[in-house]
Protein backbone atom coordinates (compact mmCIF):
# COMPACT_ATOMS: atom_id res chain seq x y z
CA UNK A 1 0.00 0.00 0.00
CA UNK A 2 1.31 3.46 -0.83
CA UNK A 3 1.80 6.18 1.76
CA UNK A 4 -1.54 7.68 0.64
CA UNK A 5 -3.31 4.46 1.58
CA UNK A 6 -1.65 4.40 5.00
CA UNK A 7 -2.57 8.06 5.39
CA UNK A 8 -6.24 7.35 4.66
CA UNK A 9 -6.27 4.39 6.98
CA UNK A 10 -4.49 6.21 9.84
CA UNK A 11 -6.67 9.32 9.53
CA UNK A 12 -9.90 7.28 9.44
CA UNK A 13 -9.07 4.95 12.29
CA UNK A 14 -7.50 7.76 14.30
CA UNK A 15 -10.59 9.92 13.98
CA UNK A 16 -12.90 7.12 15.09
CA UNK A 17 -10.73 6.16 18.06
CA UNK A 18 -10.47 9.83 19.10
CA UNK A 19 -14.26 10.33 19.02
CA UNK A 20 -14.89 7.22 21.13
CA UNK A 21 -12.07 7.97 23.60
CA UNK A 22 -13.17 11.59 24.04
CA UNK A 23 -16.84 10.72 24.53
CA UNK A 24 -16.12 7.98 27.06
CA UNK A 25 -13.66 10.20 28.91
CA UNK A 26 -16.31 12.93 29.22
CA UNK A 27 -18.99 10.39 30.08
CA UNK A 28 -17.20 8.35 32.72
CA UNK A 29 -13.57 9.47 33.04
CA UNK A 30 -14.09 12.66 35.00
CA UNK A 31 -16.75 11.25 37.31
Amino acid sequence: MTYKGWLFLSASWGMVVTIVAYCFYRLFGSA
Binding site: M1, T2, K4, G5, W6, F8, L9, S12, W13, M15, V16, V17, I19, V20, C23, F24, R26, L27, F28
Partner: protein, 515 residues
Protein backbone atom coordinates in the same frame (compact mmCIF):
# COMPACT_ATOMS: atom_id res chain seq x y z
CA UNK B 1 -50.14 10.98 31.84
CA UNK B 2 -49.14 7.34 32.21
CA UNK B 3 -45.65 6.83 33.67
CA UNK B 4 -43.35 5.54 30.95
CA UNK B 5 -40.41 3.18 31.29
CA UNK B 6 -36.85 4.58 31.47
CA UNK B 7 -33.37 3.25 30.84
CA UNK B 8 -31.78 1.87 34.00
CA UNK B 9 -28.31 3.38 33.58
CA UNK B 10 -26.37 5.70 31.32
CA UNK B 11 -24.03 2.93 30.19
CA UNK B 12 -27.08 0.75 29.46
CA UNK B 13 -28.60 3.54 27.37
CA UNK B 14 -25.43 4.08 25.32
CA UNK B 15 -24.94 0.35 24.74
CA UNK B 16 -28.61 -0.01 23.74
CA UNK B 17 -28.32 2.89 21.29
CA UNK B 18 -25.06 1.41 19.96
CA UNK B 19 -26.84 -1.94 19.60
CA UNK B 20 -29.61 -0.14 17.73
CA UNK B 21 -27.11 1.34 15.27
CA UNK B 22 -24.58 -1.49 14.99
CA UNK B 23 -26.07 -4.17 12.78
CA UNK B 24 -25.30 -6.51 9.91
CA UNK B 25 -24.65 -3.45 7.73
CA UNK B 26 -21.50 -2.59 9.67
CA UNK B 27 -19.78 -5.88 8.91
CA UNK B 28 -21.29 -6.90 5.57
CA UNK B 29 -22.73 -3.88 3.74
CA UNK B 30 -19.96 -1.38 4.56
CA UNK B 31 -16.96 -3.34 3.17
CA UNK B 32 -18.90 -4.17 0.01
CA UNK B 33 -19.95 -0.53 -0.52
CA UNK B 34 -16.41 0.71 0.14
CA UNK B 35 -14.82 -1.88 -2.15
CA UNK B 36 -17.26 -1.10 -4.98
CA UNK B 37 -16.76 2.65 -4.73
CA UNK B 38 -13.08 3.39 -4.92
CA UNK B 39 -11.81 1.98 -1.62
CA UNK B 40 -9.95 4.75 0.23
CA UNK B 41 -11.65 7.44 -1.86
CA UNK B 42 -15.03 6.23 -0.59
CA UNK B 43 -13.95 7.23 2.91
CA UNK B 44 -13.85 10.96 2.08
CA UNK B 45 -17.53 11.27 1.05
CA UNK B 46 -18.31 8.79 3.81
CA UNK B 47 -16.84 11.00 6.54
CA UNK B 48 -18.26 14.18 4.95
CA UNK B 49 -21.69 12.50 5.03
CA UNK B 50 -21.06 11.39 8.60
CA UNK B 51 -20.49 15.02 9.68
CA UNK B 52 -23.12 16.73 7.49
CA UNK B 53 -25.84 14.08 7.64
CA UNK B 54 -25.10 11.51 10.32
CA UNK B 55 -24.26 13.62 13.35
CA UNK B 56 -26.95 16.33 12.84
CA UNK B 57 -29.63 13.71 12.19
CA UNK B 58 -28.50 11.66 15.17
CA UNK B 59 -28.82 14.72 17.45
CA UNK B 60 -32.16 15.70 15.92
CA UNK B 61 -33.56 12.17 16.46
CA UNK B 62 -32.36 12.16 20.08
CA UNK B 63 -33.87 15.64 20.55
CA UNK B 64 -37.25 14.76 19.02
CA UNK B 65 -37.32 11.46 20.92
CA UNK B 66 -36.62 13.02 24.33
CA UNK B 67 -39.14 15.80 23.69
CA UNK B 68 -41.83 13.33 22.59
CA UNK B 69 -41.10 10.98 25.49
CA UNK B 70 -41.56 13.82 27.99
CA UNK B 71 -45.09 14.26 26.56
CA UNK B 72 -45.89 10.54 26.71
CA UNK B 73 -45.17 9.68 23.06
CA UNK B 74 -42.71 6.97 22.08
CA UNK B 75 -43.23 7.06 18.32
CA UNK B 76 -43.16 9.55 15.46
CA UNK B 77 -46.96 10.10 15.01
CA UNK B 78 -47.31 11.49 18.54
CA UNK B 79 -43.96 13.29 18.39
CA UNK B 80 -44.67 15.03 15.07
CA UNK B 81 -48.16 15.93 16.29
CA UNK B 82 -46.64 17.59 19.37
CA UNK B 83 -44.05 19.47 17.28
CA UNK B 84 -46.40 20.61 14.53
CA UNK B 85 -50.03 21.51 15.19
CA UNK B 86 -51.28 20.26 11.88
CA UNK B 87 -53.59 17.34 11.11
CA UNK B 88 -51.09 15.94 8.62
CA UNK B 89 -48.23 15.69 11.13
CA UNK B 90 -49.34 12.47 12.80
CA UNK B 91 -49.90 10.80 9.41
CA UNK B 92 -46.40 11.72 8.24
CA UNK B 93 -45.16 10.25 11.51
CA UNK B 94 -46.59 6.89 10.50
CA UNK B 95 -43.32 6.33 8.62
CA UNK B 96 -41.60 6.07 12.03
CA UNK B 97 -43.53 2.85 12.74
CA UNK B 98 -44.10 1.55 9.23
CA UNK B 99 -40.45 1.65 8.10
CA UNK B 100 -38.87 -0.22 11.04
CA UNK B 101 -41.67 -2.78 10.87
CA UNK B 102 -41.10 -3.47 7.17
CA UNK B 103 -37.33 -3.75 7.68
CA UNK B 104 -37.99 -6.04 10.64
CA UNK B 105 -40.04 -8.42 8.48
CA UNK B 106 -36.96 -9.48 6.49
CA UNK B 107 -34.19 -8.51 8.92
CA UNK B 108 -35.33 -11.01 11.55
CA UNK B 109 -35.06 -13.79 8.97
CA UNK B 110 -31.52 -12.81 7.91
CA UNK B 111 -30.61 -12.55 11.58
CA UNK B 112 -31.73 -16.16 12.04
CA UNK B 113 -29.24 -17.27 9.33
CA UNK B 114 -26.38 -15.88 11.44
CA UNK B 115 -27.53 -17.90 14.45
CA UNK B 116 -27.79 -21.02 12.28
CA UNK B 117 -24.36 -20.51 10.71
CA UNK B 118 -22.74 -19.97 14.12
CA UNK B 119 -24.01 -23.42 15.13
CA UNK B 120 -22.93 -24.94 11.78
CA UNK B 121 -19.43 -23.48 12.34
CA UNK B 122 -19.17 -24.79 15.87
CA UNK B 123 -20.13 -28.31 14.74
CA UNK B 124 -18.09 -28.30 11.52
CA UNK B 125 -21.08 -28.69 9.22
CA UNK B 126 -19.66 -26.72 6.25
CA UNK B 127 -18.36 -28.43 3.13
CA UNK B 128 -14.92 -29.83 3.89
CA UNK B 129 -12.11 -27.71 2.40
CA UNK B 130 -9.98 -30.81 1.65
CA UNK B 131 -12.73 -32.31 -0.47
CA UNK B 132 -12.67 -29.38 -2.89
CA UNK B 133 -10.26 -30.33 -5.60
CA UNK B 134 -9.59 -28.87 -8.98
CA UNK B 135 -10.95 -25.42 -8.15
CA UNK B 136 -9.13 -23.06 -10.48
CA UNK B 137 -10.45 -19.70 -9.30
CA UNK B 138 -12.34 -18.07 -6.45
CA UNK B 139 -15.75 -18.71 -8.02
CA UNK B 140 -15.06 -22.42 -8.39
CA UNK B 141 -13.68 -22.67 -4.86
CA UNK B 142 -16.70 -20.84 -3.43
CA UNK B 143 -19.23 -22.91 -5.38
CA UNK B 144 -19.83 -25.58 -2.63
CA UNK B 145 -20.30 -22.84 -0.02
CA UNK B 146 -22.69 -20.95 -2.29
CA UNK B 147 -24.65 -24.16 -2.79
CA UNK B 148 -24.66 -24.70 1.00
CA UNK B 149 -26.24 -21.26 1.61
CA UNK B 150 -28.65 -21.57 -1.32
CA UNK B 151 -29.78 -25.03 -0.22
CA UNK B 152 -30.27 -23.72 3.33
CA UNK B 153 -32.53 -20.83 2.26
CA UNK B 154 -33.99 -22.75 -0.69
CA UNK B 155 -32.82 -20.28 -3.32
CA UNK B 156 -31.31 -22.79 -5.72
CA UNK B 157 -34.46 -23.52 -7.76
CA UNK B 158 -35.74 -21.66 -10.80
CA UNK B 159 -39.31 -21.03 -9.62
CA UNK B 160 -40.90 -18.03 -7.91
CA UNK B 161 -41.10 -19.74 -4.53
CA UNK B 162 -38.17 -20.36 -2.18
CA UNK B 163 -38.01 -23.65 -0.33
CA UNK B 164 -35.88 -23.26 2.82
CA UNK B 165 -34.84 -26.32 4.79
CA UNK B 166 -36.84 -27.15 7.95
CA UNK B 167 -33.69 -26.20 9.86
CA UNK B 168 -33.76 -22.67 8.38
CA UNK B 169 -37.41 -22.37 9.34
CA UNK B 170 -36.61 -23.67 12.84
CA UNK B 171 -33.88 -21.08 13.37
CA UNK B 172 -36.28 -18.37 12.19
CA UNK B 173 -38.83 -19.48 14.81
CA UNK B 174 -36.15 -19.55 17.53
CA UNK B 175 -34.91 -16.05 16.60
CA UNK B 176 -38.38 -14.54 16.54
CA UNK B 177 -39.31 -16.21 19.85
CA UNK B 178 -36.11 -14.96 21.50
CA UNK B 179 -36.71 -11.40 20.22
CA UNK B 180 -40.29 -11.36 21.51
CA UNK B 181 -39.21 -12.72 24.89
CA UNK B 182 -36.64 -9.90 25.23
CA UNK B 183 -39.21 -7.29 24.16
CA UNK B 184 -41.72 -8.73 26.61
CA UNK B 185 -39.33 -8.13 29.49
CA UNK B 186 -39.40 -4.39 28.77
CA UNK B 187 -36.98 -1.59 28.03
CA UNK B 188 -34.74 -1.82 31.07
CA UNK B 189 -35.01 -5.52 32.05
CA UNK B 190 -35.11 -6.79 28.46
CA UNK B 191 -33.56 -4.57 25.82
CA UNK B 192 -30.99 -2.93 28.11
CA UNK B 193 -29.83 -6.23 29.63
CA UNK B 194 -29.48 -7.78 26.17
CA UNK B 195 -27.31 -4.91 24.98
CA UNK B 196 -25.21 -4.85 28.14
CA UNK B 197 -24.22 -8.44 27.33
CA UNK B 198 -24.26 -8.44 23.52
CA UNK B 199 -22.42 -5.21 22.70
CA UNK B 200 -19.32 -5.73 24.92
CA UNK B 201 -19.22 -9.36 23.70
CA UNK B 202 -19.47 -8.12 20.10
CA UNK B 203 -16.50 -5.78 20.59
CA UNK B 204 -14.41 -8.54 22.23
CA UNK B 205 -15.20 -10.97 19.37
CA UNK B 206 -14.55 -8.20 16.85
CA UNK B 207 -11.14 -7.57 18.42
CA UNK B 208 -10.20 -11.28 18.38
CA UNK B 209 -11.19 -11.62 14.70
CA UNK B 210 -9.48 -8.31 13.87
CA UNK B 211 -6.18 -9.53 15.37
CA UNK B 212 -6.57 -12.92 13.63
CA UNK B 213 -7.08 -11.24 10.27
CA UNK B 214 -4.12 -8.88 10.76
CA UNK B 215 -1.85 -11.89 11.35
CA UNK B 216 -3.25 -14.06 8.56
CA UNK B 217 -1.00 -15.63 5.92
CA UNK B 218 -2.18 -16.49 2.46
CA UNK B 219 -2.43 -20.15 1.39
CA UNK B 220 -2.30 -19.16 -2.30
CA UNK B 221 0.08 -16.20 -2.49
CA UNK B 222 3.48 -16.50 -0.73
CA UNK B 223 4.06 -12.79 -1.39
CA UNK B 224 0.94 -11.78 0.52
CA UNK B 225 1.48 -9.14 3.21
CA UNK B 226 -0.87 -7.27 5.52
CA UNK B 227 -0.11 -4.11 3.57
CA UNK B 228 -1.41 -5.81 0.42
CA UNK B 229 -4.57 -6.99 2.19
CA UNK B 230 -5.37 -3.57 3.60
CA UNK B 231 -4.64 -1.81 0.33
CA UNK B 232 -7.72 -3.39 -1.29
CA UNK B 233 -9.95 -1.11 0.71
CA UNK B 234 -7.67 1.72 1.71
CA UNK B 235 -5.66 2.55 -1.40
CA UNK B 236 -7.35 5.73 -2.61
CA UNK B 237 -8.73 6.02 -6.08
CA UNK B 238 -9.40 9.75 -6.13
CA UNK B 239 -11.41 9.58 -9.34
CA UNK B 240 -14.21 8.26 -7.12
CA UNK B 241 -14.51 11.71 -5.55
CA UNK B 242 -15.96 13.13 -8.74
CA UNK B 243 -18.49 10.34 -9.07
CA UNK B 244 -22.07 11.01 -7.97
CA UNK B 245 -22.44 7.25 -7.48
CA UNK B 246 -19.71 7.24 -4.81
CA UNK B 247 -21.33 10.13 -2.94
CA UNK B 248 -24.74 8.50 -3.05
CA UNK B 249 -23.35 5.19 -1.85
CA UNK B 250 -21.49 6.90 1.01
CA UNK B 251 -24.51 8.94 2.12
CA UNK B 252 -26.75 5.88 1.88
CA UNK B 253 -24.35 3.89 4.01
CA UNK B 254 -24.38 6.60 6.69
CA UNK B 255 -28.18 6.45 6.90
CA UNK B 256 -28.20 2.68 7.02
CA UNK B 257 -25.37 2.20 9.48
CA UNK B 258 -26.53 4.77 12.03
CA UNK B 259 -30.16 3.53 11.76
CA UNK B 260 -31.26 7.06 10.88
CA UNK B 261 -34.63 7.93 9.39
CA UNK B 262 -36.16 4.69 10.63
CA UNK B 263 -37.86 5.83 13.82
CA UNK B 264 -35.98 3.34 16.00
CA UNK B 265 -33.71 5.97 17.58
CA UNK B 266 -36.71 8.24 18.21
CA UNK B 267 -38.33 5.48 20.25
CA UNK B 268 -35.21 4.56 22.24
CA UNK B 269 -34.58 8.27 22.96
CA UNK B 270 -38.13 8.66 24.29
CA UNK B 271 -37.10 6.58 27.32
CA UNK B 272 -34.24 8.89 28.42
CA UNK B 273 -34.47 11.11 31.46
CA UNK B 274 -35.51 14.76 31.01
CA UNK B 275 -32.05 16.14 31.86
CA UNK B 276 -30.04 13.49 29.96
CA UNK B 277 -27.02 14.87 28.10
CA UNK B 278 -28.11 13.76 24.65
CA UNK B 279 -25.28 15.51 22.79
CA UNK B 280 -22.59 13.43 24.49
CA UNK B 281 -24.72 10.28 24.40
CA UNK B 282 -25.47 10.80 20.70
CA UNK B 283 -21.80 11.33 19.84
CA UNK B 284 -20.78 8.28 21.90
CA UNK B 285 -23.35 6.14 20.08
CA UNK B 286 -22.21 7.36 16.67
CA UNK B 287 -18.56 6.87 17.70
CA UNK B 288 -19.09 3.26 18.81
CA UNK B 289 -20.94 2.50 15.60
CA UNK B 290 -18.13 3.99 13.51
CA UNK B 291 -15.52 2.04 15.50
CA UNK B 292 -17.32 -1.21 14.72
CA UNK B 293 -17.72 -0.23 11.06
CA UNK B 294 -14.55 1.60 10.04
CA UNK B 295 -12.09 -0.52 12.01
CA UNK B 296 -13.66 -4.00 12.36
CA UNK B 297 -16.05 -3.85 9.40
CA UNK B 298 -13.39 -2.64 6.97
CA UNK B 299 -10.91 -5.29 7.99
CA UNK B 300 -12.33 -8.66 8.95
CA UNK B 301 -14.21 -9.87 5.88
CA UNK B 302 -12.41 -8.05 3.05
CA UNK B 303 -8.79 -8.42 4.19
CA UNK B 304 -9.22 -12.16 4.73
CA UNK B 305 -10.90 -12.44 1.30
CA UNK B 306 -7.85 -10.77 -0.31
CA UNK B 307 -5.49 -13.12 1.56
CA UNK B 308 -7.38 -16.22 0.41
CA UNK B 309 -8.66 -15.30 -3.03
CA UNK B 310 -6.34 -12.50 -4.16
CA UNK B 311 -7.39 -9.09 -5.48
CA UNK B 312 -9.50 -10.36 -8.36
CA UNK B 313 -11.26 -12.95 -6.18
CA UNK B 314 -12.05 -10.40 -3.45
CA UNK B 315 -13.28 -8.02 -6.11
CA UNK B 316 -15.62 -10.68 -7.56
CA UNK B 317 -16.94 -11.50 -4.09
CA UNK B 318 -17.62 -7.87 -3.19
CA UNK B 319 -19.42 -7.36 -6.51
CA UNK B 320 -21.76 -10.23 -5.61
CA UNK B 321 -22.86 -8.35 -2.50
CA UNK B 322 -23.02 -8.55 1.27
CA UNK B 323 -24.48 -12.06 1.54
CA UNK B 324 -21.75 -13.47 -0.67
CA UNK B 325 -19.07 -11.88 1.50
CA UNK B 326 -20.57 -12.89 4.84
CA UNK B 327 -22.22 -16.25 4.23
CA UNK B 328 -20.21 -17.73 1.34
CA UNK B 329 -16.69 -16.30 1.37
CA UNK B 330 -16.19 -16.29 5.15
CA UNK B 331 -17.22 -19.96 5.71
CA UNK B 332 -14.88 -20.92 2.83
CA UNK B 333 -12.03 -19.04 4.51
CA UNK B 334 -12.72 -20.45 7.98
CA UNK B 335 -12.88 -24.01 6.71
CA UNK B 336 -9.32 -23.54 5.41
CA UNK B 337 -7.95 -22.08 8.63
CA UNK B 338 -6.62 -23.78 11.79
CA UNK B 339 -9.35 -23.60 14.45
CA UNK B 340 -11.64 -22.40 11.65
CA UNK B 341 -14.72 -23.76 13.42
CA UNK B 342 -13.98 -21.60 16.44
CA UNK B 343 -13.36 -18.44 14.40
CA UNK B 344 -16.39 -19.15 12.21
CA UNK B 345 -18.53 -19.57 15.30
CA UNK B 346 -17.21 -16.25 16.60
CA UNK B 347 -17.83 -14.45 13.29
CA UNK B 348 -21.45 -15.57 13.01
CA UNK B 349 -22.14 -15.05 16.70
CA UNK B 350 -20.80 -11.51 16.31
CA UNK B 351 -23.21 -11.03 13.39
CA UNK B 352 -26.03 -12.55 15.42
CA UNK B 353 -25.42 -10.16 18.34
CA UNK B 354 -25.24 -7.23 15.89
CA UNK B 355 -28.48 -8.45 14.31
CA UNK B 356 -30.57 -9.32 17.36
CA UNK B 357 -29.83 -5.98 19.06
CA UNK B 358 -31.09 -4.26 15.91
CA UNK B 359 -34.12 -6.57 15.66
CA UNK B 360 -35.40 -5.51 19.09
CA UNK B 361 -34.70 -1.86 18.23
CA UNK B 362 -36.74 -2.15 15.02
CA UNK B 363 -39.57 -3.87 16.89
CA UNK B 364 -39.81 -1.48 19.83
CA UNK B 365 -41.57 1.40 17.93
CA UNK B 366 -44.63 -0.81 17.29
CA UNK B 367 -44.67 -1.98 20.91
CA UNK B 368 -44.33 1.62 22.12
CA UNK B 369 -47.13 2.77 19.79
CA UNK B 370 -49.58 0.24 21.24
CA UNK B 371 -48.50 1.01 24.81
CA UNK B 372 -48.52 4.81 24.49
CA UNK B 373 -51.37 5.49 22.08
CA UNK B 374 -53.72 2.58 22.87
CA UNK B 375 -52.81 2.05 26.55
CA UNK B 376 -52.26 -1.65 25.88
CA UNK B 377 -50.12 -3.69 28.25
CA UNK B 378 -46.60 -4.58 27.16
CA UNK B 379 -47.48 -8.29 26.97
CA UNK B 380 -50.45 -7.65 24.70
CA UNK B 381 -48.47 -5.22 22.51
CA UNK B 382 -45.68 -7.76 22.05
CA UNK B 383 -48.22 -10.52 21.30
CA UNK B 384 -49.87 -8.48 18.53
CA UNK B 385 -46.48 -7.64 17.06
CA UNK B 386 -45.42 -11.30 17.30
CA UNK B 387 -48.46 -12.61 15.43
CA UNK B 388 -48.08 -10.03 12.67
CA UNK B 389 -44.32 -10.51 12.38
CA UNK B 390 -44.49 -14.29 12.28
CA UNK B 391 -47.14 -14.23 9.56
CA UNK B 392 -45.66 -11.50 7.36
CA UNK B 393 -42.06 -12.79 7.53
CA UNK B 394 -43.29 -15.69 5.39
CA UNK B 395 -43.26 -13.31 2.43
CA UNK B 396 -39.50 -12.82 2.83
CA UNK B 397 -38.94 -16.51 3.57
CA UNK B 398 -40.87 -17.99 0.66
CA UNK B 399 -41.33 -15.34 -2.03
CA UNK B 400 -38.31 -14.82 -4.27
CA UNK B 401 -37.52 -11.11 -4.70
CA UNK B 402 -39.79 -10.01 -1.86
CA UNK B 403 -36.88 -9.27 0.50
CA UNK B 404 -35.17 -6.98 -2.05
CA UNK B 405 -38.42 -5.14 -2.77
CA UNK B 406 -39.07 -4.44 0.92
CA UNK B 407 -35.44 -3.44 1.39
CA UNK B 408 -35.68 -0.85 -1.39
CA UNK B 409 -38.90 0.84 -0.26
CA UNK B 410 -38.20 0.82 3.48
CA UNK B 411 -34.45 0.35 3.92
CA UNK B 412 -33.27 2.60 1.07
CA UNK B 413 -35.96 5.06 -0.01
CA UNK B 414 -38.32 5.44 2.95
CA UNK B 415 -35.70 6.31 5.54
CA UNK B 416 -34.46 9.28 3.51
CA UNK B 417 -38.02 10.62 3.31
CA UNK B 418 -38.60 10.29 7.07
CA UNK B 419 -35.21 11.92 7.76
CA UNK B 420 -36.19 14.88 5.58
CA UNK B 421 -39.46 15.37 7.48
CA UNK B 422 -37.64 15.10 10.82
CA UNK B 423 -35.25 17.89 9.87
CA UNK B 424 -37.97 20.15 8.43
CA UNK B 425 -40.51 19.63 11.22
CA UNK B 426 -37.97 20.05 14.04
CA UNK B 427 -35.80 22.86 12.68
CA UNK B 428 -38.21 24.78 10.44
CA UNK B 429 -41.69 24.24 11.86
CA UNK B 430 -41.08 23.66 15.57
CA UNK B 431 -38.44 26.39 15.22
CA UNK B 432 -34.66 26.29 14.90
CA UNK B 433 -33.95 28.07 18.20
CA UNK B 434 -36.35 25.82 20.13
CA UNK B 435 -34.91 22.75 18.40
CA UNK B 436 -31.37 23.84 19.23
CA UNK B 437 -32.44 24.48 22.82
CA UNK B 438 -33.96 21.00 23.04
CA UNK B 439 -30.83 19.33 21.71
CA UNK B 440 -28.35 21.23 23.88
CA UNK B 441 -30.39 21.16 27.12
CA UNK B 442 -28.34 19.43 29.82
CA UNK B 443 -25.23 19.12 27.65
CA UNK B 444 -21.85 19.28 29.42
CA UNK B 445 -19.97 19.83 26.19
CA UNK B 446 -20.50 23.00 24.24
CA UNK B 447 -21.81 21.98 20.85
CA UNK B 448 -20.20 24.28 18.22
CA UNK B 449 -22.75 26.70 16.77
CA UNK B 450 -21.74 25.58 13.28
CA UNK B 451 -23.86 22.46 13.88
CA UNK B 452 -26.91 24.72 14.18
CA UNK B 453 -26.37 26.08 10.67
CA UNK B 454 -25.46 22.67 9.28
CA UNK B 455 -28.64 21.12 10.74
CA UNK B 456 -30.84 24.00 9.62
CA UNK B 457 -29.58 24.54 6.08
CA UNK B 458 -27.09 21.96 4.85
CA UNK B 459 -28.55 18.67 6.11
CA UNK B 460 -32.07 19.13 4.63
CA UNK B 461 -30.64 20.21 1.27
CA UNK B 462 -28.18 17.28 1.30
CA UNK B 463 -31.09 14.89 1.98
CA UNK B 464 -33.16 16.43 -0.84
CA UNK B 465 -30.28 16.00 -3.28
CA UNK B 466 -29.91 12.32 -2.29
CA UNK B 467 -33.64 11.78 -2.65
CA UNK B 468 -33.75 13.40 -6.07
CA UNK B 469 -30.68 11.49 -7.28
CA UNK B 470 -32.04 8.14 -6.10
CA UNK B 471 -35.44 8.87 -7.59
CA UNK B 472 -33.78 9.71 -10.91
CA UNK B 473 -31.32 6.80 -10.85
CA UNK B 474 -33.23 3.94 -9.29
CA UNK B 475 -36.99 4.57 -9.37
CA UNK B 476 -37.53 4.00 -13.11
CA UNK B 477 -35.88 0.55 -13.03
CA UNK B 478 -37.63 -0.40 -9.76
CA UNK B 479 -41.04 0.70 -11.04
CA UNK B 480 -40.57 -1.12 -14.34
CA UNK B 481 -40.33 -4.47 -12.50
CA UNK B 482 -43.43 -6.38 -13.29
CA UNK B 483 -43.11 -9.91 -11.91
CA UNK B 484 -45.82 -11.35 -9.71
CA UNK B 485 -43.83 -11.50 -6.46
CA UNK B 486 -42.89 -7.83 -6.67
CA UNK B 487 -46.54 -6.84 -7.01
CA UNK B 488 -47.62 -9.14 -4.17
CA UNK B 489 -44.99 -7.45 -1.96
CA UNK B 490 -46.11 -3.98 -3.03
CA UNK B 491 -49.71 -4.94 -2.30
CA UNK B 492 -48.65 -6.08 1.17
CA UNK B 493 -46.77 -2.81 1.81
CA UNK B 494 -49.71 -0.72 0.62
CA UNK B 495 -52.18 -2.65 2.79
CA UNK B 496 -49.85 -2.32 5.78
CA UNK B 497 -49.66 1.44 5.23
CA UNK B 498 -53.47 1.64 5.20
CA UNK B 499 -53.61 -0.31 8.48
CA UNK B 500 -51.16 2.21 9.98
CA UNK B 501 -53.30 5.15 8.83
CA UNK B 502 -56.41 3.53 10.33
CA UNK B 503 -54.60 2.79 13.61
CA UNK B 504 -53.46 6.41 13.98
CA UNK B 505 -56.95 7.68 13.13
CA UNK B 506 -58.52 5.40 15.77
CA UNK B 507 -55.88 6.29 18.41
CA UNK B 508 -56.43 10.02 17.98
CA UNK B 509 -60.24 9.68 17.95
CA UNK B 510 -59.98 7.62 21.12
CA UNK B 511 -57.86 10.30 22.73
CA UNK B 512 -60.31 13.04 21.76
CA UNK B 513 -63.17 11.03 23.26
CA UNK B 514 -61.24 10.43 26.49
CA UNK B 515 -60.24 14.09 26.85
Amino acid sequence: MKKREQWGSRMGLILAMAGNAIGLGNFLRFPVQAAQNGGGAFMIPYFVSFVLLGLPLMLVEWGIGRYGGSLGHGTAPGMFDALWKNRAAKYIGILGIFLPLVVLVYYVYICSWTLAFSIFSAFGMYPDADSITGASDAAAYLQPYKKYLFDFIGAGGAGDVLSPTPLAYGFFVVTIALSLWILGRGVSAGIEVLNKIAIPALFVMGLVLFIRVLTISSPIDPGYTLSKGLSFLWEPDLSGLLSAKTWLAAAGQIFFTLSLGLGAILTYASYVKKDEDIVLDGFATAGLNEFAEVIFGSTIAITSAVAFFGFSGASEISKEGAFSLGFISMPAIFSHMPFGGFFGFMWFLLLFFAGITSVVALAQPVVAFFEDEFDLSRARSVLILGIFLFASAHLAIFLKGSLDEMDFWAGTFGLVILAFFEMVIFFWIFGSDRAWGEITRGSVISLPKIFYYVAKYITPVFILVILAAWAYEQLPSILSKSDKNVWITRGFLFALLLVHIAAVKIAWRRRRNNA
